[in-house]
């Protein structure tokens, strides 16, 4: 007598895509809120480093706008660190822990997994960044005056899209790495804080250096947000906000497309060579 095996309805490709995105985002949003001490330290530590830079500015008699620049830049470092450690190097960690093979074998798109990682990380980090911004603003008496809320929202959205697109793209590249992944991610902190102007207006680096640094979305994003949040910051701005919005849109397009291309390329390469290891040199 033949038994019938109950089958679950198969998700269509788009439905599967979004379910995968949600499934990968879920542990990032929920999991990171479960451990209360992580939340505390994720908020507390950036405020300490912000405080160090604020005191330096105060000691040398900087105008009050600069304190605001540091607080805003310090809040945005949370996103950069999230992209660096939880996006770019994530597939490398997954490979180290043995999960990568499961991801690849799963009948869903790798792009959806990366997108879920990005969305989950972005939302979890956003909560922390907002708290850092408020506590930092309150501690150091920073006055935020939003001149154009919708443009600010657009700039933030474009910056995040481009930034996490960059993270998705570099996740594929990090798959090629071994122990150097940790060191390279470590290396991409202070130099990026420097050239992206996290703690000072990027305009001061000179036009060409600032333009080169604009390949990192946070450079233009931070510059535009400062101009929109501190009215007097227009004089410190690198480019006009409208130009920066266009620049960020171009970066979004390039990085998301690049992420898709590189992911496909890595997948093809690993199928050809029958392995996904760092010894491909």
């Amino acid at each position: 007598m033949a038994t019938t095996v109950p089958t679950l309805p198969k998700a269509s490709s788009w439905k599967l895509f979004f379910k995968t995105v949600f499934a990968r985002a879920y542990p990032r949003i929920v999991g990171q809120q479960c451990e209360k001490s992580w939340m505390f330290f994720d908020i507390f530590l950036p405020i300490l480093s912000i405080a160090a830079y604020v005191y330096v500015y105060r000691a040398i008699g900087a105008p009050e706008e600069y304190i605001g620049f540091v607080v805003l830049g310090g809040a945005m470092t949370a996103f950069w660190l999230n992209v660096l450690w939880s996006m770019s190097s994530q597939l490398y960690w997954e490979k180290e822990q043995g999960n990568l093979a499961l991801y690849i074998m799963a009948p869903s798109s790798m792009m959806a997994i990366l997108l879920g990682m990005a969305l989950g990380g972005m939302i979890a980090t956003l909560l922390r960044a907002i708290v850092i911004l408020f506590i930092g603003g309150w501690l150091f008496q920073v006055r935020f005056v939003v001149t154009d809320f919708w443009t600010l929202l657009l700039v933030f959205f474009l910056t995040m899209t481009a930034l996490y697109g960059l993270g998705m793209m570099s996740a594929s590249l990090f798959l090629l790495l071994s122990r150097e992944a940790w060191h390279l991610a470590n290396l991409a902190q202070e130099p990026i804080y420097l050239i992206s102007g996290f703690y000072f207006p990027v305009k001061n680096l000179g036009f060409w250096l600032a333009l080169s640094a604009s390949l990192i979305p946070l450079t233009m994003g931070l510059d535009a947000m400062r101009q929109l949040v501190f009215p007097s910051a227009a004089q410190f701005g690198f480019l006009d906000v409208r130009i920066e919005v266009i620049g960020l849109s171009v970066l979004c397009f390039i990085f998301l497309l690049g992420a898709r291309y590189l992911l496909n390329y890595m997948e093809k390469l690993s199928i050809q060579e029958g392995r996904l290891t760092e010894s491909r040199r």
Partner: protein, 284 residues
């Protein structure tokens, strides 16, 4: 008695020497020497450059002001704090989480504190290179004048080994925390590790503020906190580093600091601690 001591010293030295070699291999052989050199130089120089640019924007590049070397040298020496402390305590995480060798090392005939200290030496060497490069860069390009004849070598020599011991002791303590975190937290090893790492980074950041701060009010606050601190590691190491800058720049800093009571307090405190070994860490 002497034989036992000699055998213990030989045992500790062997553990220390081999761990040093291992630590250096782990830190350096992931890249070719050229890339490793670039890596070792870019990070500290970028960190210093952030402060240099911040300073030059506000003061219109007035690098002759005595406050600049104070900030610059404080930042340069602060590299030791992070490197020495993480070098030792990170070894536990690395061995347990990454290489999965911790239990074998722990049960092997190795003097564990010496092993951890040895693992920290590689980072100490890298930190020393970074500090020297940062200071030389400052001397060559940023007009930082260090007059070696003005250095108060007595204070410098008294304070440096004490600070080194402090940082190492803190690293060992963090290492111990990581071991404990790995075995006891109900949420699993990762949660515990991250928590103790976070606490450790909290110490770094507070010390960072102390080393960078330049205003009189803050120095007063640190002085009070240093006095009030009951921790065996406390704030002193960093404060000492911060104040070491004075030894390089004695005449120019007279209006910025209140060195003598503070230094006397630190040295007195050190001597009294030497007489009373710390029970908490088992190290002195």
């Amino acid at each position: 008695m002497q034989t036992r001591l000699a055998s213990f010293l030989s045992f500790s030295w062997r553990s220390f020497r081999l761990a040093t070699w291992l630590g250096w291999q782990i830190e350096s052989n992931w890249a070719d020497p050229f890339l490793f050199t670039i890596y070792s130089l870019i990070k500290p120089l970028s960190s210093a450059a952030i402060l240099v640019i911040m300073y030059s924007i506000i003061t219109k590049a007035n690098f002759d002001s005595p406050i600049f070397p104070y900030i610059y040298l404080g930042n340069a020496f602060y590299m030791y704090v992070g490197h020495v402390m993480t070098g030792i305590s990170w070894a536990v995480i690395d061995d347990r989480e990454h290489y999965k060798t911790m239990k074998y090392i722990y049960t092997a005939p190795v003097h564990f504190p010496s092993y951890l200290l040895g693992r920290g030496v590689a980072r100490f060497i890298i930190a020393s290179i970074s500090v020297v490069v940062t200071i030389v860069f400052g001397m060559l390009f940023l007009n930082i004048s260090i007059d070696l004849t003005q250095v108060n070598w007595v204070f410098f020599c008294i304070n440096s080994p004490y600070w080194g011991r402090d940082a190492s002791a803190h690293g060992l303590d963090s290492g111990r925390n990581h071991v404990v975190a790995g075995s006891s937290h109900v949420r699993g090893r990762r949660g515990g590790s991250r928590r103790s790492l976070s606490i450790q980074w909290g110490h770094f950041s507070i010390r960072g503020i102390a080393s960078l701060s330049t205003s009189d009010r803050l120095l007063n606050a640190h002085y009070v906190l240093a006095r009030a601190s009951t921790s065996p590691f406390g704030w002193h190491g960093c404060l000492q580093l911060s104040h070491l800058t004075k030894f390089f720049q004695c005449p120019t800093f007279s209006h910025l600091n209140h060195p003598d009571p503070f230094l006397c307090y630190i040295i007195r405190h050190r001597v009294s601690r030497l007489r009373k070994p710390s029970k908490r860490t088992g190290t002195n």
